[in-house]
C-alpha cells in the first residue's frame, strides 16, 4: 500500500489545535476541497506526515447532516487522524562561565539571565555532580556549560565532556570571527548527540522506509512494546565434572535491577532465571592446536541457538517479547572454549548476541591438574564479569547504542546503573515517535477496514478506545512540540495501548460480516424459483379480478 503525502497550509494552524472539534472542522473543510486518500510517509528532516482517509467522513454524514446511526457520532472523522509535521523540541539552556566569552560577544547574546554562582570545581567528575542541583533535571532538557578555553577543568585535547546527568561541559572555541556562531554550532552538535538526530528518527519510522536504506542497527533492537521478559539461563552440559553455582538473585538485584528501574517508565520488565543440565550446544567445537583450545568460529554461531531454544521454555509464559541470556559452561573435554570472529581473532568477551533474541556467553573454568582434580569441580561463577557482558548486550538489544562522536568528546561512564540519563532520553525520543507512528497506521488501517465492510458493527468500548487513542496521540504531539518529553512519552504509550486494543478486538473479524453481493448470491437461487409461481399466480389473480370487474358490465 503506497502512501502519498499532503502538506498542511500554514493558515490552518490559526485556531487552537487542542480543541478536538477544531480537528473535525478541518477535516470537513478539506473534504469539501475534494482531497483524496493520502498515505503515510517518513518525511525528511526527522518529520512525519500522517494522514488518513477523509473519504469516509462524507459517506457517514447523511443528507440532513446527521451521523449514520449505530456507529456513534463522529467516529469515522475521529478515526481518520490528522497529524501535522512532527515537531520535536529540546529545551537547552547554555550557561556561560565567567570569562568564557569576550565582552563584545557577550552583549550580542539574544537573552541572558546572569546568575552569580560560586562553586569550586576541580575535577570534572565533581563538576558534574556539583552542577546537578543548579540545573533543572526534567526528562529531555539539556544544559551545556561553556567554560573559557584555557580552563584547566577539562584535560588536554578534550573539547567537550558529556556527563551522565543531561549536562555537558565544553570549551569555548577560540579564534577570529564570530565566536557565538562557533559556540552555537558546537552546542548543536552536542544536543544532537544527546537527544536525537535525523537518522535516529528515521530509524524509528523504519516500517515506512524501504528496507535498503536501513542499516543493521535498526534490525537489532526490539520494537517498542509494553513489557519485556528477561530470562537468565545457566547451561551446564557436564554436571559430572562441574558443580556450577551462580548467585543470580544477588547479581540481578545489584546490577540488572537498577538498569531496569531506570527504564521503568519505558516498559514493564519481569526477570526470571533457570539452570539447565545436559543442554549442549548444537555445534561441536573444533580443536585448535596452536592455542590448544577449542574454537567456535563465527560461521557456526548461528546454528548454536536453535537446538537450545526449544529447551529454554521461557516462551510459554507471557505474551511479551522475551530476551534470553545464556551462560554456557563448556564440558570438561571441550575446555577451554573460545569464540573467534570472522578474522580468526579470539573475542575478548567470549560472547555473542542475536538481534531481537538475546545473548550467549561462554564461561571457561580453570581446571587443576588431572590427578589433583576432585570431580565434580565446584565452580562459583564470577557474576561481575558475566553481568558486564549481559548488560552490554541488554543495552544493544534495547537500541541504546554508542553514538559516533568526534574525537574531542569525552563521555562519562554510566556506572552501575548501566545507562546515562541522556541515553534514556534518546531512547524516549525515538520510542515516542515510533509509538505515534504506530498509532496512526493502526487507526488508519482500522478506518480502511471499516470503510471496506460497510455493515460492520462497532461496539461502544471499541469506539471509546479509538477516541482515547486519538486524544492521547494529539496530546503526545503537542507535548513533543513543547519539549515535555516525559508526558509526551506517557501519552504516546497510552495511545498505543488504546489503539491496539481497538484494532485487535475480536469482534472486528471481517469474516463475520457478509458483503451485500454475497447475500444476493446466496438468497437469489433460493427465492427466485419459489417466487416464480407466486408471481405468476398473483398475475393470474389480478387478471381474474380485472375480468370479473368487466363481467358485470357485459352481462347486463
Amino acid at each position: 500500500m503506497s502512501y502519498i503525502c499532503r502538506r498542511f497550509s500554514a493558515q490552518t494552524f490559526d485556531a487552537d489545535p487542542g480543541d478536538s472539534g477544531w480537528w473535525q472542522q478541518q477535516f470537513i473543510g478539506l473534504l469539501s476541497q475534494g482531497s483524496e486518500t493520502i498515505e503515510v510517509l517518513g518525511g525528511p528532516q526527522g518529520s512525519g506526515w500522517f494522514w488518513g482517509s477523509p473519504k469516509c467522513c462524507a459517506e457517514v454524514r447523511g443528507a440532513d447532516g446527521s451521523w449514520d446511526g449505530g456507529r456513534g457520532p463522529g467516529l469515522r472523522c475521529q478515526v481518520t487522524l490528522l497529524f501535522a509535521q512532527f515537531q520535536l523540541t529540546v529545551p537547552v539552556s547554555v550557561v556561560f562561565a565567567k570569562g568564557a566569552l569576550p565582552g563584545a560577544q557577550q552583549r550580542r547574546l539574544p537573552f541572558a539571565d546572569t546568575q552569580e554562582e560560586e562553586s569550586l570545581l576541580n575535577r570534572k567528575n565533581q563538576a558534574d555532580a556539583a552542577l546537578l542541583p543548579l540545573q533543572e533535571d526534567s526528562l529531555g532538557a539539556l544544559t551545556v556549560y561553556v567554560i573559557p578555553e584555557t580552563s584547566p577543568l577539562l584535560p588536554q585535547g578534550v573539547g567537550v565532556y558529556v556527563g551522565k546527568h543531561r549536562s555537558a561541559v565544553m570549551r569555548c572555541p577560540q579564534g577570529p570571527g564570530d565566536v557565538l556562531a562557533a559556540v552555537s554550532a558546537r552546542v548543536q552538535q552536542i544536543v544532537q548527540a544527546m537527544s536525537f538526530t535525523t537518522d535516529s528518527i528515521t530509524a524509528a519510522l523504519s516500517d515506512r522506509v524501504p528496507m535498503d536504506q536501513l542499516g543493521t542497527d535498526t534490525r537489532r533492537p526490539f520494537k517498542s512494546s509494553l513489557g519485556y521478559e528477561i530470562t537468565f539461563s545457566l547451561l551446564n552440559p557436564d554436571p559430572k565434572s562441574h558443580d556450577v553455582h551462580w548467585d543470580i538473585e544477588a547479581a540481578v538485584s545489584g546490577y540488572v535491577q537498577p538498569f531496569l528501574d531506570k527504564l521503568g517508565s519505558v516498559a514493564n520488565f519481569s526477570v526470571d532465571s533457570q539452570i539447565l543440565y545436559y543442554a549442549v550446544l548444537g555445534v561441536s567445537p573444533r580443536f585448535d592446536k596452536a592455542s590448544s583450545s577449542f574454537i567456535l568460529s563465527a560461521l557456526s554461531l548461528p546454528h548454536v541457538i536453535n537446538p537450545v531454544e526449544a529447551r529454554l521454555g521461557s516462551s510459554a509464559t507471557s505474551l511479551y517479547p522475551v530476551l534470553n541470556f545464556l551462560l554456557y559452561v563448556p564440558e570438561r573435554i571441550h575446555s577451554p572454549l573460545y569464540i573467534q570472529d570472522k578474522d580468526g581473532a579470539a573475542v575478548g568477551t567470549n560472547a555473542f548476541h542475536s538481534p531481537r533474541w538475546g545473548g550467549i556467553m561462554v564461561y571457561n573454568v580453570d581446571h587443576p591438574a588431572p590427578d589433583k582434580a576432585l570431580l565434580p569441580l565446584r565452580v562459583d561463577v564470577d557474576m561481575v564479569r558475566v553481568m558486564e557482558v549481559f548488560l552490554a548486550q541488554l543495552r544493544l538489544l534495547f537500541g541504546i547504542s554508542q553514538v559516533p562522536l568526534p574525537e574531542e568528546f569525552l563521555l562519562e561512564s554510566p556506572g552501575n546503573k548501566g545507562l546515562t540519563d541522556w541515553e534514556l532520553d534518546r531512547l524516549l525520543w525515538t520510542r515516542t515517535v515510533e509509538n505515534i507512528a504506530t498509532v496512526s497506521t493502526t487507526l488508519t488501517s482500522l478506518a480502511q477496514l471499516l470503510d471496506k465492510i460497510g455493515n460492520i458493527v462497532i461496539k461502544d468500548d471499541v469506539a471509546s478506545e479509538v477516541y482515547h487513542a486519538v486524544a492521547s496521540a494529539q496530546t503526545a504531539m503537542l507535548e513533543l512540540a513543547s519539549g515535555h518529553l516525559g508526558s509526551a512519552f506517557q501519552a504516546s504509550k497510552e495511545a498505543v495501548i488504546s489503539s491496539e486494543r481497538a484494532f485487535f478486538d475480536p469482534s472486528l473479524l471481517h469474516l463475520l460480516y457478509f458483503p451485500d453481493d454475497q447475500k444476493f448470491a446466496i438468497y437469489i437461487p433460493l427465492f427466485l424459483p419459489m417466487a416464480v409461481p407466486i408471481l405468476l399466480s398473483l398475475v393470474k389473480i389480478l387478471r381474474e379480478a380485472k375480468q370479473s370487474k368487466k363481467e358485470p358490465t357485459k352481462t347486463d
Binding site: 555445534v283 509464559t317 570472529d341 542475536s354 533474541w357 556506572g415 552501575n416 471481517h510
Partner: protein, 383 residues
C-alpha cells in the same frame, strides 16, 4: 545436526570456502528477518483424507528439523489419524509406503485440533484478533521482522478451500487477511504454499507486498495423490508434497539452496499437474532467497565487543559464604504405583453365588410354561 557439523569440518580447510564465507556473512543480513514462524494447516477430516494430515506433518517435521521451534509453529490438524480407530498402526502416520518414514514422531505439538480447525480460527490466528483467553501456543506472535511460512492442504476448488467438509475459505478472504497482516506489519516476508486441486486460484487475489506463493496445480487441474499403502489402505501423500519433502530432506540449516530450485520441484512428468508460483509481489529476486529463510530458522548473530564497566564495591552485596552442604541421602522416588503387584497378580477366585435377578426370573418363566403345557402329572415321566 551431525551431518551439518561434518560438512563444516570438511569445508574449513579449503581456501575457496573463506571467500564464500564472506559472501555468506553479508547475505545473513540481506533478508532482513530475525525470526521465523510457520502456520501449517490441514483442513480435511475423515480417514480417507489421511494423506492431507501426512502432508502437513511432513512439512512440520522438515520445518522443525531445520530449526524452527514449536513455540513458533502453529499446527492445525482437522482430524486425528494417528489415534484413529481405523489406523492399523496406531500412533504413527506414514508418508512413504511400506512404512518407511513415520512423520508423527515423538514430539508433535498440535495447536488446533479436530473441530477447532475452522475458517474463523484460522483467520483469527492470521489477523491476531484473538480472544484474550487464548493460550500463547495458539497465537501467531510475529512482528515486522518475521518471515512466515503458511502451508495449507486439503480439498479445494476454483477460488476456495474446503474446511472440515462444512465450510470454505475463499481467495478473497485470504487476501484480505494477508492485507490486515501487512497493515499491522505482522510479517516481513510471507511464503504461501498450497497443495489442493486448482491451488493456483487461491493466490490469484493477493495484493499485499512481500508475498511469494506456490501451488501444486493450476486452475482447472486436479492435484493427485502419490501412492497407496496396501497395509494401511489409503493414499499416504499427495504428489506435490511428496516431492517437496524429498527436496527438503536434502536441505540442512547451512545450505544455500534458493527458491528457484523449489520452483522446479515436481515437474509435470512426476506430478501430472503443473505446479505454479507467483513472485510479482515479492521484493527480492527468488534467486537470492534461501530456502532456510522460510523453512529454517537461521539466526543472525553478532559478536559482542563491548562491556559495561561495573564497580562491585558500590553494590551492597553480601558475599555469601558457600556453606558446605550437609551430605544428604540421595532422594528416591516414592513407590507411588506398585507396578509389580499389578502386573503379576493372579485372577482372584470368585465365590459362588446362586443366580439371581434376571436369570432366576427367566428360568421361572420357562418352568411355568413347561408345566402349563404339559401338566404336573406328567412330571413323573420325566424323573
Amino acid at each position: 545436526l551431525l551431518f551439518s557439523c561434518l560438512v563444516f569440518l570438511k569445508g574449513v580447510g579449503t581456501v575457496e570456502r573463506k571467500n564464500l564465507s564472506e559472501d555468506q556473512a553479508e547475505q545473513f543480513f540481506r533478508s532482513g528477518h530475525t525470526n521465523n514462524w510457520a502456520v501449517l494447516v490441514c483442513t480435511s477430516r475423515f480417514w480417507f483424507n489421511y494423506r492431507h494430515v501426512a502432508n502437513t506433518l511432513s512439512v512440520y517435521r522438515s520445518v522443525k528439523r531445520l530449526g524452527i521451534p514449536d513455540s513458533h509453529i502453529v499446527l492445525m490438524l482437522a482430524d486425528d489419524m494417528a489415534c484413529n480407530p481405523r489406523n492399523p498402526k496406531p500412533a504413527t502416520v506414514f508418508s512413504h509406503k511400506n512404512m518407511e518414514l513415520n512423520v508423527y514422531g515423538d514430539d508433535v505439538e498440535v495447536d488446533y485440533r479436530s473441530y477447532e480447525v475452522t475458517v474463523e480460527n484460522f483467520l483469527r490466528v492470521l489477523t491476531g484478533r484473538i480472544p484474550p483467553s487464548t493460550p500463547r501456543s495458539k497465537r501467531l506472535l510475529s512482528d515486522d521482522r518475521s518471515n512466515i511460512l503458511i502451508y495449507m492442504t486439503g480439498h479445494g476448488g476454483n477460488g476456495f478451500l474446503k474446511f472440515q467438509d462444512s465450510e470454505e475459505i475463499t481467495n478473497v478472504e485470504l487476501a484480505d487477511a494477508f492485507e490486515q497482516m501487512w497493515q499491522k506489519r505482522r510479517y516481513n516476508e510471507l511464503l504461501f504454499i498450497i497443495d489442493t486441486c486448482q491451488g493456483a486460484s487461491m493466490y490469484e487475489r493477493f495484493y499485499s507486498p512481500n508475498i511469494m506463493a506456490l501451488a501444486s496445480s493450476q486452475v482447472g487441474e486436479d492435484s493427485l495423490s502419490h501412492q497407496p499403502d496396501l497395509g494401511i489402505g489409503v493414499h499416504l501423500m499427495d504428489r506435490y508434497t511428496f516431492y517437496v519433502l524429498e527436496f527438503l530432506e536434502e536441505i540442512h540449516p547451512a545450505s544455500q539452496t534458493n527458491m528457484n530450485d523449489l520452483f522446479q520441484v515436481c515437474p509435470r512428468s512426476l506430478c501430472v499437474s503443473t505446479p505454479g508460483h507467483r513472485t510479482d509481489l515479492f521484493q527480492r529476486d527468488p534467486q537470492n532467497v534461501l530456502i532456510t529463510d522460510f523453512f529454517g530458522s537461521v539466526r543472525k548473530v553478532e559478536i559482542t565487543t563491548e562491556t559495561v564497566a561495573l564497580d562491585p564495591n558500590l553494590v551492597g552485596l553480601e558475599t555469601r559464604v558457600p556453606n558446605d552442604e550437609m551430605a544428604t541421602e540421595p532422594l528416591k522416588y516414592a513407590e507411588q504405583l506398585p507396578v509389580a503387584q499389578i502386573i503379576h497378580q493372579k485372577p482372584k477366585q470368585k465365590d459362588w453365588h446362586p443366580p439371581g435377578g434376571f436369570i432366576l426370573g427367566l428360568w421361572a418363566l420357562i418352568i411355568m410354561v413347561f408345566f402349563k403345557t404339559y401338566g404336573i402329572k406328567h412330571m413323573k415321566y420325566i424323573f
